[in-house]
């Protein structure tokens, strides 16, 4: 479920209990989906060579780092886009002066 549709659904229902329920479940679902995506990504590209009889500590540490760096990457990209957006606006403003 996308955020927009959930929010529309939320405002369309007068029932506050149902509205709250939808908001909480949407958040939970976004969490779950990202866990699925990160598990898949870290598994096939980064951390899992050959599945052994148990998850050894090195592999486990790799998964933890993989999650941390994935989130760092996403935050870095978001910040940098914001910065370039700001400097673009500043540039076009200085051009129009």
């Amino acid at each position: 479920m996308s955020m927009d549709s959930a929010q529309n659904l939320g405002t369309a229902t007068a029932d506050p209990q149902l509205q709250h329920f939808i908001e909480v479940e949407t958040q939970k679902q976004r969490f779950q989906l990202l866990v699925h995506q990160m598990t898949e990504l870290c598994w096939q590209e980064k951390c899992m060579d050959k599945p052994g009889p148990k998850l050894d500590s090195r592999t486990e540490a790799c998964f933890v780092n993989c999650v941390e760096r994935f989130i760092d990457t996403s935050q870095f990209i978001l910040n940098r886009l914001e910065q370039t957006q700001k400097s673009k606006i500043a540039f076009s403003e200085s051009m129009s002066d």
Partner: protein, 90 residues
């Protein structure tokens, strides 16, 4: 399943809607996991598809399933603790 939480008076029961939504979400999550796990373990364990799923392939798949669940839980915990840290910063 009954008519999406409506009783004979036509009124919608919030509680039963929530229950049904929860069940549907759980099913969707299980399908998501199953699909990704199948894909990953097929890639790891089936080198060249033969005439049957042989014994060593079955063993590999079973082990792969368990490790995939371990990985899923590790990722879930790591993501969760990162979220807690981010929230504490705010």
């Amino acid at each position: 399943m009954d008519g999406f939480g409506s009783d004979f008076s036509g009124k919608v029961d919030t509680g039963s809607i929530m229950e049904q939504v929860k069940v549907q979400i759980a099913v969707a999550n299980a399908q998501e996991l199953l699909q990704r796990m199948t894909d990953k373990c097929f890639r790891k364990c089936i080198g060249k598809p033969g005439g049957s799923l042989d014994n060593s392939e079955q063993k590999c798949i079973a082990m792969c399933m368990d490790r995939y669940m371990d990985a899923w839980n590790t990722v879930s915990r790591a993501y969760n603790s990162r979220l807690q840290k981010e929230r504490a910063k705010m």
